[in-house]
Symmetry: C2
Subunit: 361 residues, 2 copies
Amino acid sequence: MQAHASRQPRTLFLDTHDVARLIGILGLPACLRGLVDTLRADYLRWPEFDKEARIAAYTAQGTIELMPITDGTHYSFKCVNGHPGNGRYGLPTVMAMGALLDCDTGMIRLLSELTLSTALRTAAMSALAAQVLARRDSHSMALIGNGAQSDFQALAFACLLGVRDLRLYDVDRSASERLARNLAAAELPGRALSVRICESTAQAVRGADIVTTVTAFQGQTRVLDDSLVEPGMHLNAVGGDCPGKTELDPDILRRADVFVEFPPQTRKEGEVQQMAADFPVTELWRVLAGDAPGRARADQVTLFDSVGFALEDYSALRFLQAQAQARQVGTWVDVTPGQADPRDLYGWLQGELQGLAALAL
Amino acid sequence: MQAHASRQPRTLFLDTHDVARLIGILGLPACLRGLVDTLRADYLRWPEFDKEARIAAYTAQGTIELMPITDGTHYSFKCVNGHPGNGRYGLPTVMAMGALLDCDTGMIRLLSELTLSTALRTAAMSALAAQVLARRDSHSMALIGNGAQSDFQALAFACLLGVRDLRLYDVDRSASERLARNLAAAELPGRALSVRICESTAQAVRGADIVTTVTAFQGQTRVLDDSLVEPGMHLNAVGGDCPGKTELDPDILRRADVFVEFPPQTRKEGEVQQMAADFPVTELWRVLAGDAPGRARADQVTLFDSVGFALEDYSALRFLQAQAQARQVGTWVDVTPGQADPRDLYGWLQGELQGLAALAL
Ligand SMILES: NC(=O)c1ccc[n+]([C@@H]2O[C@H](COP(=O)([O-])OP(=O)(O)OC[C@H]3O[C@@H](n4cnc5c(N)ncnc54)[C@H](O)[C@@H]3O)[C@@H](O)[C@H]2O)c1
Ligand SMILES: NC(=O)c1ccc[n+]([C@@H]2O[C@H](COP(=O)([O-])OP(=O)(O)OC[C@H]3O[C@@H](n4cnc5c(N)ncnc54)[C@H](O)[C@@H]3O)[C@@H](O)[C@H]2O)c1
């Protein structure tokens, strides 16, 4: 990178340290709250968005997906992977980056890491859904799958839903121990968290108000069996998010009221991929808008069949952009040449080369 | 950006100055040759790629497109816009960025500007097509539309096809004057270029061996009328590249043999969008592979109906990656957190925050 010409149209770049710093400045609870507010505001503008199911490339090891969306003013996309076997390379299961562009000109305004941001927005989205779907008096949550996303799910439900009793289960006990250690050290506003590591999913789920499944496994598993689901529970199913990858016993779907982000995508990728194409689902935005009921009865089983939708990354990118600019976090980079005459790209290149030649003298 | 932990999986970042520097190190002719070689090698692997038409968002002012592709080992995407009215904001019509990922892990290896790279790869692709489609004795080219792409088209045909007689036409004469100035100053191997600014498309095209159209206009125009097309000409139609945006009189398509990149995309976006869905086209990769004839007769009219396909950006990104690593150009950035335990994203975040707090003391 080198000093830039004055006309250069510049792009704000947030690397993973910048996003960490922003979270540090705001504090994680405020960050989650800010994201929930942004998500709610954007979901309430649902009809304004040009939406499509994400575009995925599937390989034996995992998936790589592109998630574009636009409201005609801003355009965003995320590029994200899901590779459950990445641990053997010392790499996370999920990694992501994305960008925010102006629709008027196509100019790239923001280029950002989205790995931390995905963990945050996914947890914020789960909390937003639970606010309208879980029982008001919910205070206990079973958390099945204790990997990278799970800390953020736990903290979002603690900060935003008043959950204070967490029961952890993971097939790998060291994952639960890791999570329990982090939660013990987390400073949370209000009452302390009670955290218990369980020996089985059944033990974790019994009597819980909310059940969050956030496991990574390539294939159809039954992380949660229908026999474990009790009346009044809210299920937050986060891990099943691509074709051939589900977490729930299909009997659960028959019993629960199912809420989804964007049906054309969820029918391919979510738990409802196990059901017929006309299986009834409710779009979450309609509940937020007051157009459709969320939870109607205390004994109803509600299910948020989360897969992650492009709008959530749009919200995250807009939130990051606003916060980073207000707090002067990030670096300005040149991903667009800065020719004075827009047609003179070649002339700009020649100017750069002359500048470099002069430097070399 | 800040100093990184040792385990951080890093991403090579090439901004527009880095790509300019690479072009400077290699020299533009060698760069174009290297790209043509990479494009040919990748087009010969055509069946290995998982291909799809690009995903576009259309607004009143222009288009924003995502172009993904993978061969199962590497995954690439480009994000590119086309906004013919951008000049009024002092911005180029076309701007782009993209990335290269490992399929095994989803790790982002390269993040790069692709504005310069698009101009180069488009010109290299046009030259590659002309090598099998234009008459061997071609030495004159009409260049209609003298904007940002045109200098690179002119130089690619001069360096790689032996074109030495260029006739320029643009509705805006100052665009042609700009291009002529740049071409007069360009140092080219071999014989000098003769460059003439013409008063009309007809004047530029008359007697030319090759006609390149590379105009930007939102809508269906007839940059080239059938009456101007002479037997034996090769037409390189670059500007018409999205639905509702074409450059050629449909009568030309009926008369010419039409060669395309990826038919499902070109039938939507190329000149052939004006024809029926079963209009005969030949996939260029078949010609390169020797499976289909290119030019068969001296009096045949050949047309490369170029729209720009994801494979070309894959090739450009792979070429940039190899060259940048060999010459140590670019910056290593952290778009992926570097937690030692892949599941401990939250722990990594806490470590970052403690590091920042220590710095602030
Ligand atoms: N819905 C969304 O918006 C969204 C967003 C991000 C990630 N995800 C998905 O969430 C999942 C988890 O992501 P992560 O980053 O935490 O992955 P991770 O690999 O860090 O953690 C997954 C954990 O699940 C555990 N596990 C696997 N099978 C299990 C089972 N049957 N019972 C209990 N535990 C089990 C593993 O041992 C591991 O600890 C992934 O599948 C990912 O694709 C969804
Ligand atoms: N096929 C591909 O792979 C590919 C790649 C890049 C760009 N493109 C397309 O190429 C076109 C040109 O791109 P650019 O970056 O050079 O744009 P630009 O805006 O810099 O230049 C376009 C030029 O065309 C001229 N023009 C417009 N209408 C004309 C007409 N009827 N006759 C003669 N000249 C006319 C304009 O005056 C302008 O000088 C765009 O439409 C772009 O989308 C295609």
